[in-house]
């Protein structure tokens, strides 16, 4: 059932902002198909009485009290920025994708 298509790979590459050549797309389609097949084996053991799980440990309600803790200084916060103006991060203009 691992019928992942070249179109899907191209779409995912676009969403992930990865530039792929047609050759790479073809290559990735094959590789992703194999990975999908491997993962699909889960279906063989996932019977209806096994609930879907999103976490390896069955924990819930791990909370934090609403108490203020330490913060970074602005200099620390900006330390990893490729570019900053002293108080804010500088990023290149991004058009048409305002969320």
């Amino acid at each position: 059932m691992s019928d992942i298509t070249a179109e899907q790979v191209a779409h995912l590459a676009h969403l992930a902002r990865i530039a792929l050549t047609p050759h790479e797309i073809e290559h990735m389609t094959r590789e992703l198909g194999q990975i999908m097949s491997a993962v699909e084996r889960v279906n063989e053991v996932a019977t209806p009485d096994v609930p879907p799980t999103s976490h390896p440990i069955a924990l819930h309600n791990v909370f934090r009290a609403d108490v203020v803790g330490n913060t970074l200084t602005t200099a620390e916060a900006l330390a990893g920025a490729p570019e900053a103006d002293g108080t804010r991060f500088v990023v290149s203009a991004i058009l048409g994708e305002e969320q």
Binding site: S54, T71, F89, G96, E98
Partner: protein, 505 residues
């Protein structure tokens, strides 16, 4: 950009049925953020922080950092869900919403997808004319807010034409609840007013719960309005547009009305509506096309592996349900009767967002009339003139004390306004300011007589006029006495005494 063709609103309603859907984002006012112990700028205590000072490694998604859920934010979200008439999920999960945009450093937003904390509710919304509409709620889910971008280099500071952008991540991670309605049918010509009244109702609810500052101008409460039209008699919904981030009650009403008129003109001309987000322009009262809704909406949600499910027990839900405040519609109806206001007086208070302030001022001992007068009068005037929020200027207790000082005769209205200036300037309580500034009304006639006699003696021609029956001339003397007593005299009493002295001398 060419101005869009608009159809007359009534004509649009004749041909088409408007269907609206509203998404409201509420920033919670917890002390810390949703997933990190950084101070929360949506709490007014931290509102005016400098850029990038409310930051932890979690806010920046730095390697090795892990989010931990703020328990208070969960409680607030459940309370809000209950107040919206929703069911609370027995188990609720966070999900990653993946997108590339620098308003979040992680390249994903932690949100909730198919397991929201609250779902299937309804909110009763009352329109100005008294019509009541139940707005169906699809869901209310928890998520984190994104950072703030300032676009530099564009002609208007908006995103189009910007050369670069500055990012402040203080807001990244602020706890948000997004409330999503189902499509709302049947509002008809009231659709724009309903959109406004709905958001006002949400504001009332979160204020009554005390879970958000709910200041639209600060972005604590933001509304995206979905609007579509379908021809009369059609079953299928029309293509919708989503107008983003409309940030005042008035704008919400205008934006919905505008979209109805714009879409009607396109459809009537044989055109098709493009499914897209649109930006509201406050200055021109129009919307313009944003990004089309296409593959950009492929957010690839998946369960957030860094967080475990939230499982609110029945006990917690019962506790929060028992603590719910009175529903806004019921509260408004009760207060209107208790205060004895006319429709107009009550709307004045309600539309000004001052119900809570007036109620607290009355609770502090003021008469409803005095409380209303101060909040919708002098305080609102000063707030408008200074661009500050009216609730920042004075506390209900201070206003009640001012009203008491006027009531007991210690202050005239004019002196009370001076005392209020002192309160706003932070000089202390009204009584302290009265003492410090020497504002109390001079009720000792003896000291007034001296000032009046002096003023009459200084202006014998005025005295003569008064004696000749030209009573209006007394104004000159009254003015002189008020100046001499620095405004602390009761002008009405001074007038009586001036006439009495003039006649006797």
């Amino acid at each position: 950009m060419a101005r869009a063709e608009l159809m007359n609103f009534d004509a649009a309603l004749d041909q088409f049925e408007p269907v609206i859907g509203l998404e409201v984002h509420v920033e919670l006012n917890t002390r810390t953020k949703m997933f990190s112990s950084s101070p929360n700028p949506a709490n007014s205590q931290f509102h005016s922080a400098e850029p990038n000072t409310l930051i932890t490694p979690v806010c920046l998604g730095l390697p090795g950092s892990l989010p931990v859920v703020n328990e208070t934010a969960v409680r607030y979200s459940i309370s809000l869900g209950l107040a919206l008439g929703c069911s609370i999920a027995a188990s609720s999960r966070f999900a990653r919403k993946n997108y590339f945009y620098p308003d979040l450093a992680k390249n994903y937003q932690i949100s909730q997808s198919d397991e929201p904390i609250a779902f299937d509710g309804g909110v009763e919304v009352e329109l100005d004319g008294g019509r009541t509409i139940v707005v169906p709620i699809e869901r209310a889910h928890m998520e984190e807010d994104a950072g703030k971008l300032t676009h530099v280099g564009g002609a208007t500071g908006r995103i189009q034409g910007a050369e670069y952008s500055l990012v402040d991540y203080n807001r990244a991670g602020v706890p948000l609840v997004e409330i999503v309605t189902r499509p709302i049918f049947g509002a008809e010509k009231d659709a724009p007013a309903l959109a406004r009244a709905y958001v006002a109702t949400i504001r009332d609810i979160v204020l009554a719960l005390g879970i958000s500052e709910a200041r639209m101008e600060r972005g604590n409460l933001r509304c995206d309005a979905n609007v579509s039209l379908r021809p009369r008699g059609a079953q299928q919904l029309g293509t919708r547009t989503e107008t983003k981030n409309v940030n005042s009650l008035r704008s919400i009403e205008r934006a919905v009305r505008y979209e109805i008129q714009r879409q009607a003109a396109i459809l009537a001309g044989g055109g098709a509506i493009t499914q897209e987000t649109r930006h509201w322009h406050e200055d021109t009262g129009t919307t313009s096309a944003g990004r089309p809704k296409s593959d950009a909406d492929d957010y690839r949600y998946f369960p957030e592996p860094d967080l475990v499910p939230v499982v609110p027990g029945a006990e917690l839900i019962a506790e929060l349900r028992a603590a719910l405040p009175e529903p806004p519609a019921a509260r408004r109806a009760r207060l209107k009767v208790e205060w004895g206001f006319t429709d107009l007086e009550f709307q004045d208070v309600a539309n000004g967002g001052l119900l809570a302030e007036v109620a607290a001022t009355v609770a502090a001992g003021a008469s409803p009339a005095a409380a209303r007068k101060w909040w919708t009068g002098e305080l609102t005037r000063i707030a408008n003139a200074t661009g500050r929020d009216v609730t920042e200027l004075a506390t209900p207790a201070q206003v009640a004390e001012l009203a008491a000082l006027v009531n007991e005769g210690t202050l005239t209205d004019r002196l009370a306004r001076q005392a209020l200036e002192g309160v706003i300037a932070g000089e202390g309580s009204p009584r302290e300011i009265v003492d410090a500034r020497g504002l109390a009304v001079v009720s000792d006639d003896g000291s007034l007589y001296a000032a009046i006699d002096e003023a009459l003696a200084a202006q014998p021609d005025v005295l003569a006029k008064i004696r000749d029956g030209k009573v209006e001339a007394a104004g000159v003397i009254i003015g002189a006495v008020m100046r001499a007593t620095k405004g602390t005299a009761d002008a009405a009493r001074v007038r009586e005494l001036v006439l009495e002295r003039a006649a006797a001398s």
